[in-house]
Each structure stands twice: as structure tokens, then as C-alpha cells.
Symmetry: C2
Subunit: 193 residues, 2 copies
Amino acid sequence: MKGRPTVFKNEEMVLKAQELFWEKGYTATSLSELSARTGAGAGSLYNTFKGGKKELFKKSLYQRKVDLEDFKTLLEKSDNPIELIKAFFLSVVTESKKSHFKGCIIANTIVEMTFIDEELGNNAIDILKETEKLYTTTILSEQKRGYIKSQIPATVLARHLITLWCGINTLRRIYPDKDILKQQIELQLQIIK
Amino acid sequence: MKGRPTVFKNEEMVLKAQELFWEKGYTATSLSELSARTGAGAGSLYNTFKGGKKELFKKSLYQRKVDLEDFKTLLEKSDNPIELIKAFFLSVVTESKKSHFKGCIIANTIVEMTFIDEELGNNAIDILKETEKLYTTTILSEQKRGYIKSQIPATVLARHLITLWCGINTLRRIYPDKDILKQQIELQLQIIK
DNA sequence: CTATTTTTGTACCAATCATTACAAAACACA
DNA sequence: TGTGTTTTGTAATGATTGGTACAAAAATAG
């Protein structure tokens, strides 16, 4: 390869940028902050991400879609995927206080973007919908296996998990408290039985 | 009174500003937009609200605290306050699509403000906590009256309602759909019985 | 060593941001 | 009608925004 070597790796920058977007949201995060956090100057930022700030944010969201795929394969391998999902929800409880305040970047984006940027908002919505779909198929399959006795439709139960996720996303900022969060999550996970 | 008469009434301006903040959040709402929406120039805005944009936002939040007080007196007068609370949650279902996209200004603010402005974030958190307190006393009183059989502590049930509220606040943007929202809210209100 | 190619850092761009300064406007009182 | 007082609309404030231009830097290829 010819030319000056690339020192700023695409994926590293996305992760650094994601951190910042996750904390402050899209609008409140400035390019100078992104530049400072990633260590890359404006030149490198725009050379790597042709679409500028918005493209960088898109990539940050997409990163979560990749994480979802990882979770999907994990569920498929498991012989008790429902317990895995419940464990995932409960794992939130023991996270750091800062993680509580950051919440979920997808849920945050849905709230922030509605009247700001429809495309970015829909990107986030799509990811949550895909997560819901994963829950639905998992629950449906476990209902057929008889591991879930509840006759409530799998779609409704899955959507309940999404609602819980979004609820906890805000509650953990009000109460970044292990016991309270555990109490609430366990109460609502009882519906999946 | 001496001097040029005040044409822009304090409360009217707060309500107009609240609309805009509600839609776009604090950061993304500019003073020029606020000026356009309220009809008042920058001069009047800063003359009426000495603290500028932030003060105007505070007043917008405080407006919801007033609404909460109204609901409180309504509950105190009712002989079936639990049904009133449940009806309140279900009333969300029939709201306009735009209302769904706007969500709850308090919950929105909690999500937006965490790493942006601690004071404004705490203002919003306080209002939700006060709402929770109202739910707690209501549920506790109805438990004593025997109208609620559940032995789950009133504090936990009240907090469940707050979690539900925050969850629906995001879900309604993903699914601004009457049937889906009704389904989810009813499912979760079953816990209060 | 030279030419070519790509990335990088910096200086710069116009636009917008929240806020302030201030003069004209609109009233009360005399 | 004139004086004092307050509000209003507008023009300017400096700071910051997202984005661009471009030359220096750093590599390869010949």
C-alpha cells in the first residue's frame, strides 16, 4: 500500500466515539469533544467517516447491532435460553454507577431523536425491534418445548421485555441502586414463566 | 403601574416553550426557535426569564409539578383512587400519534440531562420521585382498606408504576399503536391487584 | 533520490449558538 | 404636553458549531 499509514483504526474510533455519544447523546456531543476523545483531528475524522458526525453516530449504533448478533448465537447454543435472557436483565443490576447513568444507547437515542433526526431515530428503533424479534422466537420455541407454561402470546411477552428494558433504562438513573433495581426486574420477569 | 405594558404573559410563554422543549429536548431547542414559537423577541424572553434558556426550561418542568398537584387532589377526593391511577395509565393509549412521539417531558429530561446538566436532571428526577410517593401513599392506604390484596410492599408496587411509565414513554415511540400499548399497560397493571 | 499517494494536523469557513446592549415604543403620572 | 419607567424589537456580542481546504508528513514504488 502506498501513502501515509493509517494510524487511527476505524473500529477503535467508533468505540471511543460511542462512549461519548452514549453519555451525552447525539446533539450535545460536539466534534471537538469527539476529536479530543478519539485523539484524531478533524481531518482524520472526516477522512475516515465521510458522512461526518452523523455517520460516526450511525456506526456507533451499528456496533450495538453486532453485539446483538453475538447474543443471538449465544441464545441458539444454550439449552435454557430463557434463563440466559433473564440473567442478562439481572446483570444490569451489578453494573457501575456510571453505567446506570449512561443507560442504553439505543433507548436513549429513541428518546432523543424523535423530532431531531428521523433516520437516526429509526435506526435505533430497528435495533430494539430486532431484539424483540429475537425474544419472540426464543419464547415461542420455549413455549412449544413446554418450558414456558404461560399462554400469553410470545409476541406480547417479548414486547413486555422491551418495555421493561426501556423502563429500567430510566429507573436506573433515578435509583442507581442494586437492591431496588433487582427488586423491580425480578418482579417483572415473573411474567415470563 | 408605570411603563410599557407587558404583552407576553409569563405562564403563556412557559406553556409555549414547554411544547418545544417537550418535542426537541433542552439541548436541541434554540433560543431563536423559542422566540419564534412564543412570539417574543430575545429582549422579552430575557426580561421575563432572567436566567435565560435554563430558567425557561426549569419553569417548563415546574409546570408539570403543578399538574401533579392537581392529580393529587383528584386522588384524594376519589373513593377509588387505584382505578383512577389505572385509568390515567390507560388514557395514554388513546392519545394522538404526536403525543406518543413526544412522550413524557420528565422522563425525557432524565434521559437527556444525566451528563449535561445535573441540576435540571435532578429537577426532573424529583418530580418522578414525588409522583412515586403519591402512588405509594395511595396504594398503602388501599392495602389497609383491603382494596388491594397483594402483599407486595406499596413502595415496590409504586416503583413498578414508575418503571412502567418510563417504559411506556419509550415503547409508544416504537409502537404508537393503540392496541399494542393497551395490551402492554394492562398486562403490567395486573400486578396492582 | 524522486515521484506518487494517502493520512494527518491545523487553520479556516460560514452558520448558529446563548446572551447582552440599547434605542424606540408604550404606557402612567404630572 | 412633557417626564419617568418599563417593555419591546433589533442589532450586535463573542463563543462554538459542524464541516472544509490544504500543506506538511509519511509511507511506497520506481
